[in-house]
């Protein structure tokens, strides 16, 4: 696809998703209480959006990933989306 075709197909959808993200951050900041590691991981991942480098999706996934290599002794809780 040419760039104008990518914009024709995906711009409105991406615009809508970006506004949802902004509204989520506003909602998070309006709420009471402390943030946890998920919010920190989210803010780190957001920085990748504005990066000029390619593979943003991959780097955002890595920003949310457990990068350790040793096996866990016990399962702990279910996956929550950030590490």
């Amino acid at each position: 696809m040419r760039r104008d075709q990518v914009l024709d197909h995906y711009f409105l959808e991406a615009r809508s998703k970006l506004i949802d993200l902004a509204a989520f951050l506003d909602r998070l900041e309006r709420a009471d209480g402390e943030e946890d590691f998920r919010a920190a991981a989210f803010r780190r991942a957001c920085e990748e959006l504005l990066s000029a480098q390619p593979e943003r999706a991959k780097r955002i996934l890595l920003a949310f990933s457990d990068l350790s290599t040793e096996l866990a002794k016990a399962p702990g809780g279910p996956a929550c989306g950030a590490s």
Binding site: M1, H9, K58, L61, T69, P75, G81
Partner: protein
């Protein structure tokens, strides 16, 4: 159009889903053994489940003209109980003789624990000894990257395996290149929330090629879409991919992998 659904948990779906899939052009459905959403009470629960996958579910699919195939294992979540895992592993060989069983799966890791890893190794050994295809589940969300690397290391260390007979599923942008570079097949799962959208899946294929990749809906008891694969075909058409390219990806690719088991035929 025609397509194969290579990963769907039909025991969790209503009969109308079979009708919708057949209407959309599905030619065959393959069902790996998985976690039921709750831990089963014991090995007998798995025996019943394997009977369901090899006897009852193929009959339900046949009402819509759909060949139904199955993969057998104890899923990584319940494999944390190693005594139970050994009991289930011991009953798998008797079911490998069934006419719709394609191999061992979906094995893999869930929370990347020592016990899960030990049971994964036992499943790989079982598959190698019985010459079975292997379907691997990679962990969810933040655990996927680590789990995928652990799985790739374990598989690479077993000299008996042909990577062309192993598919590693639920790949995303950060794991797909690792899987393909190691010579394995990769699966991309199209989920509304936790895994991958049609647009991202096609992006990955445009970047990394589609030679050893299949797409699946992995529809189960959670939020999932049994028509995710044909919906992705629509997305590919919107991007200008030809009907031949779409057919190769959604029909010929899974057929090429699955037909390595002589029991798979359309």
């Amino acid at each position: 159009m025609r397509y194969i659904e290579p990963h769907a948990h039909m025991v969790s779906r209503v009969t109308d889903d079979y009708a919708a899939m057949a209407t959309a052009g599905c030619q065959a459905v393959c069902e790996p053994a998985f976690w039921a959403g709750f831990d089963r009470g014991g090995a007998q629960g798995f025996h019943d489940y394997f009977r369901q996958l090899t006897d009852y579910e193929p009959k339900r699919a046949a009402k819509f003209g759909l060949p139904h195939y199955a993969w057998l294992c104890i899923n990584p979540k319940e494999a944390e109980d190693m005594k139970l895992a050994d009991e289930v592993l011991a009953m798998i060989p008797e079911f490998l003789e069934e006419s719709n069983v394609l191999g061992i799966g979906e094995i893999g890791l869930n929370k990347n624990t020592r016990n899960e890893m030990a049971v994964l190794e036992k499943h790989v050994d079982l598959a190698a000894r019985h010459g079975q295809l292997i379907l691997v589940h990679t962990p969810h969300l933040e655990d996927k990257f680590k789990g995928t690397r652990l799985i790739l290391d374990l598989l690479a260390a077993d000299g008996r395996l042909d990577p062309g007979r192993v598919i590693i599923d639920h790949a995303e942008e950060h794991t797909l290149p690792l899987i393909l570079e190691a010579g394995f097949w990769a699966g991309i799962t199209l989920y509304p929330e936790s895994k991958c959208t049609p647009a991202r899946a096609i992006d990955m294929l445009e970047v990394h090629g589609q030679e050893r990749v299949w797409l699946n809906s992995a529809c189960d008891w959670g939020r999932s879409d049994p028509l995710a694969v044909p919906r992705t075909a629509l997305e590919m058409r919107k991007r200008g991919h030809s009907p031949e390219v779409i057919d190769r990806l959604l029909f010929e690719n899974p057929k090429r992998f699955l037909a390595q088991c002589p029991k798979f035929h359309l």
